[in-house]
Symmetry: C2
Subunit: 217 residues, 2 copies
């Protein structure tokens, strides 16, 4: 198996040299280039098409996050790992949205970065435990407690069907047309649904459906 072809991006030479020494000590890795700015990184990645990029987020010209976004638009197969001093939610989430394959704080033990590179190359994602904690917290915030999922079972199949359409933004008449029934009947179903779920406004139906994952926001 051939080596993992790496590119290092950091505006401090001493950091790049340190990284080079660390990663070149791994037999399965080969550093094929370095960049000291965002612009240079864009250029080098296009030229060299590395397997994995180790990317500092704080760069003099373009931020590492922006570089990540731009690169992945053109070369989605490149894996980009953030290596940064930032451990706050904002940078972390933005980098994930940009498409990062890993996130490692600079203070972390060197093995973390090595793990991250290997994971990224396998198509996995390495998130340092300090950040994973934040991600899980976010997951739990948006993940509904299943214990709430009792009341929905009281709905009949027809009612669920009506609920989905209503929550999707259709009005009574539109739902009626879709189901080949009278608008009055739709209204009737809606009433039963709202009574069963103890809701009183149409918009409550929307929020309920989103919470239950029936529709997307």
């Amino acid at each position: 198996m051939s080596e993992i072809r790496l590119l290092l991006v950091d505006d401090h030479e001493v950091v790049r040299t340190g990284l080079r020494m660390l990663l070149e000590s791994c037999e399965d890795m080969l550093i094929i280039g370095e960049a000291s700015s965002g612009g240079e990184a864009l250029q080098r990645i296009k030229q060299l098409n590395p397997d994995v990029v180790v990317m500092d987020l704080t760069l003099p010209d373009i931020s590492g996050i922006e570089v990540t976004r731009l690169i992945l638009q053109d070369q989605p197969e490149v894996c980009i790992i953030a290596l940064t001093i930032h451990e706050d939610e904002q940078y972390f989430f933005e980098m994930l949205r940009a498409g990062a394959s890993g996130y490692v704080p600079k203070r972390a033990a060197p093995e973390h970065l090595i793990n991250a590179v290997r994971a990224a190359h396998k198509g996995e994602v390495y998130i340092h435990p300090a950040l994973a904690k934040i991600l899980v917290k976010d997951f739990l915030r948006y993940s509904p407690d299943e214990s709430e999922a009792d009341d929905i079972q009281e709905l009949t199949p027809r009612e669920i069907e009506v609920l989905e359409l209503l929550a999707d933004g259709l009005n009574n008449e539109e739902v009626a047309a879709r189901l080949y029934i009278s608008p009055h009947t739709v209204a009737r179903h809606r009433e039963n649904i709202m009574r069963k779920l103890n809701l009183h406004r149409r918009i409550d139906l929307v929020r309920y459906a989103i919470r239950k994952g029936m529709i997307e926001a």
Copy 2:
């Protein structure tokens, strides 16, 4: 600094023995007990109050997920790490919801488990890269693309305030009462908001606000 006090839960003795050998080779760890079933685990954890529990999910009586839920209700300070053959989304997410501090597949290299134990003890969360990938994917699914966030800037502060209240389920009159203005004025603001955002129904406001994270579903 004292050792990390560990409890091992797995229904196969050979696995427990292997784990014991692995983890006892770490100077910072001390195995204070074992359990071979969910019921036994509940008992032992109450008795011994370990720092970290390494928990198999497939147990003969109560599932490791259920044990985790029960334990964390009474002893939220205990860190529980899932060590399992399951790498699918369902088990993983359910274990996170139960409150796990880490998730490691059994096929992973031993260092992963050691890292997970140390991370959990530091109050962090270790997610194996294969699972972290799933978690990030889920994050991206529910995380709005910021590129859509242009139109909201066209709203005046007052309009944003009105939007939040409307989206929260209040009707015109209730918003008016809250802001000490006339219901007509609220209606007027709403009209301007809907025109600016190119929305036409009240429920569209709700979904817009949820997408933007202004309110929760």
